[in-house]
Amino acid sequence: MKIAVLVKQVPGSESPLPLVSSQDWLDESQVAYIMNESDNYGLEEALQIREKNNDGEVVVVSLGPDRTQKVIREALAKGADRAIHIQTNENYPTDPLAAASLFADALKGEDFDIIFSGLQSDDLGYGQTGVILGELLGMSTATLAMATEILDNKIKVKRELEAGYFQWVTMSLPASISVQSGCNTPRYPSLKGIMGAKKKELNVVTPSVGDQNQSIKKIYAPNTAKETVMIKGSVDQVVEKLVTIFRNEIKIT
């Protein structure tokens, strides 16, 4: 089983997020980057499949500037066998179709059985890259995977639906599957893994980024306003008013 895992480097949830003066990107020098949360679960799923079958290869694939190699090394330290870095030092694609096309070009010659990606990136959050990539490579696709099971040449995927419902789908391989956070327990890299990460193969490709259908014009923090409403009247009147607000405005049912 040959498995690719898409791993993205994103700003950590506790990182400061200052903007550059042109207001169309973050001031990266002040951002603390980490591995995208759901990608970490995708990596774990791949490692567990490889370990269960006692066979196969896990290849971590990341798109981004040089700094991205930090999460690539982390994935290698956790146990991925080798890595492909699609390096885009300038003109980082913020358009999911452009990003997926770069992945497709880098992966199409390799005949992967499975591509795991995270459900969405914690920065741009489109949740489309894995699906478009599956489409571009002619693979089965599923999103929001909570569990997977390998059958003969097929994969069974437990998908998370709305309101606590789940769905099991069985698909033919190869498949591109986006994974939901929480579907397994990601491991920590062992010291042995950390020491060995630099010795693993890291293949850097530098394609040119094609046309993009969308671009970022302006980034800004939403204005938040706090408004306190005082409810006056007798206890009964206050309670009745509160219930109306809960029901119609806050929509507690």
Binding site: R73, E74, A77, Y188, P189, S190, L191, K192, I194, M195, A197, K198
Partner: protein, 386 residues
């Protein structure tokens, strides 16, 4: 610091332990402190990750990293919980390294791989009721009988004693009624003649296991010796020198943990209409804390770096341990001060850091003893000039 001492691997290690601490240690830190529970589940996970054998050579199943990595790891653990950090430090520096440094090849092969993965933990017995700072006053005796020794006496304040599978200890070696000097042995803790008492009730390091030991006609073989008479004392002092770097690292971590909490609190707490860090007497405390931590960190990593590069570190390790532990005491005290009354109650963690800091000025050589060591080293320099 990041580029002066740290490689990519060091940074990855620090990040990994920080993640680990966030999910596995910080959520239980209060509970294990208040119930004095030894967190064996956490220690076992640290063993699986290779954190119980950072400076132990790969050849014997260790992680084979350097002392900078080891200090960085202890620092990161101590930021979250000092009891867990000392458990790891005592196991590594004191429980494992004596065998690595002076054991026979057979002893290394037999014991070190199990210690390296944390399958068994190690403890180190030097201190006795009447031999603390004056460790040469050891009263425990090992009397030679053919190819065996009969051990009598006891040790006190031994970290990990109740959870360890292996114990190294010092004793006066008696042969034909003559005192041959201090030697050292390594024994399994389930041996006949060894009694391990109940855990001490301590002020801090509450989740670390500290106990008294008694040797009563304990029969051991000469193959259990790890240091010949006369050598044992020297080797254990050398072990303590290396161990001081880990106590310095533990002190930096403890100080850093308390400082971060105080810094955060000072931005949230308001008095007289403003955040308290706007008052200069609070703000300057924070400046001093940050400066002391930076200095202690540099001393610690410099000592670790010198050790990794084969330099003599007697003075540097003593200076790092002395400075960092006294800084930790001051910083944890000020962290409580910044929290006001809330710092004095257990809901906020700073009082735990304060209690955990005091021992740093005592264990592995008191501050007074560190000053003696430093003085001896600097006078030696002066004497060589005249």
């Amino acid at each position: 610091m990041d580029t002066l001492f740290f490689t990519d691997e060091h940074n990855m290690l620090i990040e990994m332990i920080s993640d680990f601490a966030k999910s596995e240690i910080i959520p239980i830190a209060k509970e294990i402190d208040q119930t004095s529970r030894f967190p064996s589940e956490v220690i076992s996970k640290l063993g699986d990750l290779g954190i119980l054998s950072i400076p132990v050579p790969k050849k014997y199943g260790g992680s084979g990293m350097d002392n900078v990595a080891y200090a960085a790891a202890i620092m990161e653990l101590a930021k979250a919980d000092a009891s867990i950090a000392i458990t790891v430090a005592a196991h590594t520096s004191l429980g494992t390294m004596p065998i690595v440094l002076s054991g026979t090849e057979e002893q290394k092969k037999k014991y070190v791989p199990k210690l390296a993965t944390g399958k068994i933990l190690g403890a180190f017995g030097l201190t006795e009721p009447e031999a603390g700072s004056d460790a040469g006053a050891t009263r425990t005796t090992a009397e030679r009988k053919g190819n065996n020794y009969i051990v009598n006496g006891g040790k006190i304040f031994i970290t990990n004693a109740g959870v360890a599978g292996l114990l190294s200890f010092t004793a006066q070696i008696i042969e034909d009624g003559k005192n041959k000097g201090i030697g050292a042995f390594i024994i399994p803790t389930d041996i006949d003649g060894l009694t391990i008492s109940e855990p001490e009730k301590k002020m801090g390091w509450k989740a670390s296991d500290t106990r008294q030991l008694f040797f009563n006609n304990m029969l051991i073989s000469e193959s259990d010796m790890i240091a010949e008479p006369g050598e044992g004392f020297k080797i254990f002092l050398k072990i303590l020198t290396g161990g001081r770097i880990s106590i310095a690292a533990l002190a930096v971590g403890t100080a850093q943990g308390a400082y971060e909490k105080a810094l955060k609190y000072s931005t949230e707490r308001k008095a007289f209409g403003k955040e308290i860090n706007n008052f200069q007497s609070i703000g300057f405390k924070l400046s001093d804390m940050a400066t002391q931590i930076e200095a202690a960190k540099l001393l610690t990593f410099h000592a670790a770096w010198k050790k990794d590069n084969g330099h003599d570190i007697i003075k540097e390790a003593a200076m790092a341990k002395l400075f960092a532990s006294e800084a930790a005491m001051k910083i944890t005290t000020d962290a409580i001060q910044i929290h006001g009354g809330y710092g004095y109650v257990k809901d906020y963690d700073v009082e735990r850091y304060f209690r955990d800091a005091k021992i740093l000025e005592i264990g592995e050589g008191t501050s007074e003893v560190q000053r003696l060591i430093i003085l001896k080293q600097i006078l030696k320099k002066v004497e060589s000039l005249v």
